[in-house]
Symmetry: C2
Subunit: 208 residues, 2 copies
Amino acid sequence: MGYTVKMLADLAGVSVRTLHHYDAIGLVRPDERTGAGYRVYHRGDLERLQQVLFFKELGLGLGEIKEVLDQPDFDRRQALLGHKELLRRRKERIERLIRAVDRTLQSMEEGTAVEEKVMFDGFDSAQYEEEVRRRWGHTAAYKESQERMKDYTQADFEAIQREQTEILKAIAALADKPPDDPEVLAEIRRMHLSGQSAVLLPRAPINS
Amino acid sequence: MGYTVKMLADLAGVSVRTLHHYDAIGLVRPDERTGAGYRVYHRGDLERLQQVLFFKELGLGLGEIKEVLDQPDFDRRQALLGHKELLRRRKERIERLIRAVDRTLQSMEEGTAVEEKVMFDGFDSAQYEEEVRRRWGHTAAYKESQERMKDYTQADFEAIQREQTEILKAIAALADKPPDDPEVLAEIRRMHLSGQSAVLLPRAPINS
DNA sequence: CTACACCCTCACGCTACGTGAGGGTCAATG
DNA sequence: CATTGACCCTCACGTAGCGTGAGGGTGTAG
């Protein structure tokens, strides 16, 4: 009692072509075929596909996902904990974006009083995911890197937070200078190097 | 006092190549070049780039972004409100995913007691964004579609919510049947048609 | 005048599928 | 039992959004 491609596709919310593709690259393979060559998927494939979608959701490439899933000591629980952590970061990032939008809207309503006002926010915390990606990529020691990840989020993370707060304060102190002042730019660049990105929000409607 | 490509790239957290690309396709164009042909970006370009990144963040394609931004009656405020709405949905989706992870973790800790347990959650609210995309794509009447969007989020949205609750209840009622029972599948497919996607979470560790 | 960090324009490569083309399969129906 | 319609298959080329050199100018600090 297996699933056909279409059934699985509908179940998972992906296209049939996608399943064909995953089959082709060996990412999710039906372990059975009918006499006519039809793919037949079973529960195990379903679970595998779910894992794939999870990791994809987190921004990993298909090749990386394959590596991770094919790791013999792949620990589902650790992986899920990792998922959760990343999801939480994503959520925070989105919350930041929402706040950025709100501030921009507010600026617009306050009229042009906020001209030249520069707001900073994170568009680009994708670098954290880059980190994680690189760690998971190291097929050699997945668990170990998970450990480090834990340490990372608990200790270094706060340190990074503090550092960024410093930088933000530094920028705030320069806020009276024009935004293209070299000092300001230097500070912004420092900010970038520490993994946080600056975003300049618009100050007024464009409509010419 | 403009910005060079690299400066702008660092500011916005994108690569130089990306800026070249955006220039090539006319998405973000420096309105000036030095004698040597160097690109020189100004504040207007910065703002434009921010808009682009915003929309990109929301999943629009570069072509669509161009269309939207080049609309003469482009209303920044409406656009921002639209952003916010989408961001909120994303956030909710992520929250759902987090809950899904939590439930899975819990199932795992409860041992194998939850075998065959099927959990549903949204992997795929991307369909909402599809909707919005199609609306923004219609260059003809952007404002009008924004209006409809408002109506949508205020009235129809609740209706959809209710409908989905119904479907979920229906599925819950079938929970004692095996997950590949045709009745269950039919229900799941109905769910799909209404724009919500089903996700089957794994029930136990894989480690062979 | 020599480094070194930056700038330019091709132009080909890559990922993750979309989208037909051309052709079997199978359960229900006339 | 032949047909219809909804599936299934395998090529195979197309697309988006850049990455990544290749090959070569620029500009400013020492």
